[in-house]
Symmetry: C2
Subunit: 386 residues, 2 copies
């Protein structure tokens, strides 16, 4: 019983801290996710010590990130992805490949273990396009060609990032060999393909029957069940639970009831996702983060993250002309949520050390904070091609 | 990590079972809560054994019941309560007193321990008026005098039930004496009065400022924070967490944003509340329940539950005339969720034994199932006074 009281108090403190931070960061027009992580750093063991470590909180963080990725999947339009065409595809592939190679090379040069290096490289892969989309929308630039390429590339990018993560998790489970990597890659791709192909078929066949069910909010009930079920399935076959959640969202994004499902997910999102980010922030080892070696390492990782995306995406977009290609390169820089999620997966599996975890979170925060001013500066000088 | 996979699988199985049961019971026009409990009995250790006992599931059940009582509070209109007048108040008091006394007397006669007897008596106190309201609405009788008395009495009844529960929990913590009971009663009433008076004042002062906040869905965020905060506070002072949640809902029901808050709570409710009832069902000890002594005990408790409410409420409503008073007596019979919640509180505190827990759940199910046909039969013979 005392246990229950403690967990309720923890949940209250975490949720309240997240909302206060959200209010402040909304007023400052800064990304709320950064506020939530800072709130976690504040109430976590490094500073105030109001919340500690507990396996119960881990479960709530896990559910938070599952619903985060489910929502990301729900907002990913596979049909749109096919349509955005070769520019977006090239930008996505360039923006996944170069940061991964540079990130891995940096870690290897620092003599970090293989699996840890792979996790850091993976955290550099996926763009969190929400920040960029917000800035472009604020400037009224969402209808430009560069914006469409950025948004399309970010979708492909999410899917590629999830596959890379699945492969890296697979490698982290066993001894590394070319054969085992190949097998894991096949497993990850097979799971993805199986769920997407079968899921789209099932949605196509049964989607119109959902509103005829007698339970309240049938689309929401089926969506949540699919999300939990695929998360559990992904966990059991050794992938990350979030990969199952993401695929569940991806499949359901095609359903006729998708809009209502997205609306119904909002309160669940507002309840559990901030809990994930606050707990993430509370895991940061601040005294260690502010030591010279870790500060240097952070700066190096940020440099690799920025250069990797900027060059990888910018070069792939060269046909758009120098100015538009530059905008695409800058717009793809923020790592935000996805980089953080990868770091948390690595930390909870014990394959990424506490200091490197803090470095990756800092990288996500810094790339997210730097993009809006850079993008505004760039677009103030010259408009984009519509 | 394996732990996470197991918990996700458990949550998936529980949620899916709840929704399948909900679909079936909706089609059969039977109370969904009964379906969810039966689903829990089916997948629990007594039958299929798909889910077992885990402290993680306990926390989800606890959150489910917290949001259940928060929602009940949100739907309780204190102003309306003051207005329904003396009939409803008399019915509520009669319907709380007689079942409590009869329930306690029965348990004492069977030589059950004091605290256990008090818990069973408390489980007989609160009417779950949802079933009755549904039947009256289906028959187009919600605008009758008897219906208004039933609905008004059920509101007062909830509040009295929560206070009785708080006192009984207080008694269960220490040695029983008249003085300690008095102190506990004062603590429970003081907590309730403090929250309600201060809360209504705060809502009156700040309610119009809520929509001006910059966070998304501010009413929902504040509501959830208040619910978690008061639940934790109630736990820490030794009351049940649900009492805090109920009071949080009660206070927020007065806010101008209450309608939106209720809407936003729906997905959280649909996600977590069924989990509570499935887990409750999974705790039923079926092999033991179907032994002659326990069957007899169940029948006795159901008898006391029905007679206590019927006579207690019916007698208090005698001024409405015999027919209307009978309808009020029948309408107040179902115990539903609230009786189940009391039984779970007792079980989780270790003061109510497994067999008596199963008996109380059965009582809740049976009184809930018997009311609709009884009420329809009664109203088919003669209409109520409008």
């Amino acid at each position: 019983v005392e246990n229950t009281a403690k967990i309720l108090l923890d949940l209250f403190l975490i949720f309240a801290a997240a909302k206060v931070a959200g209010e402040i960061f909304n007023r400052l027009k800064q990304p709320v996710v950064v506020g939530e992580i800072l709130a976690g750093m504040l109430i976590g063991p490094s500073l105030l010590g109001w919340i500690g470590h507990s396996s119960f909180l881990d479960i709530f963080a896990e559910l938070g990130v599952i619903f985060l990725l489910f929502t990301v999947g729900l907002q990913t339009d596979l049909t749109e992805m096919v349509r955005v065409g070769k520019h977006a595809l090239a930008v996505a592939v360039g923006g996944v490949t170069l940061p991964f190679i540079l990130g891995y090379a940096l870690m290897a040069a620092l003599n970090r273990p293989l699996v840890e290096s792979l996790f850091v490289a993976t955290a550099l892969v996926a763009t969190s396009v929400g920040i960029t989309a917000r800035v472009l929308a604020d400037l009224g630039k969402l209808q430009t060609r560069a914006a469409r390429v950025i948004l399309g590339a970010a979708v492909v990018d999410d899917i590629l990032g999830m596959i890379v993560l699945a492969v890296v998790i697979g490698i982290s489970r066993g001894k590394f060999s070319l054969l085992s990597t190949l097998l894991v890659a096949i497993e990850a791709i097979a799971f993805t393909a199986f769920v997407v192909v079968l899921g789209r078929k099932a949605i196509g066949t049964f989607s119109h029957k959902i509103p005829k069910l007698h339970m309240p909010q049938p689309a929401f009930a089926l969506g949540l069940a699919l999300c939990l079920g695929l998360s559990a399935a992904a966990s059991y076959i050794g992938l990350a639970a979030i990969i199952g959640a993401f695929l569940a969202g991806l499949v359901l994004a095609e359903a006729t009831e998708a809009t209502r499902l997205r609306q119904n997910m909002e309160p669940i999102y507002e309840f559990l996702v901030p809990i994930f980010f606050v707990i993430t922030g509370s895991r940061m080892d601040l005294p260690k983060l502010f030591t010279p070696p870790i500060i240097s390492l952070t700066l190096l990782v940020v440099l690799v993250a920025v250069i990797g995306k900027f060059l990888g995406c910018g070069a792939a977009a060269f046909r758009l002309g120098r100015h538009d290609a530059t905008a695409v390169g800058v717009g793809m820089i923020p790592r935000g949520e996805v980089g953080i999620v990868v770091a948390m997966v690595g930390l909870s599996r014990g394959v990424i050390s506490g200091d490197l975890f803090s470095v990756v979170i800092s990288m996500s925060i810094l790339t997210t904070l730097m993009t809006p001013p850079l993008l505004r500066l760039l677009l103030a000088r010259r408009p984009l091609v519509v």
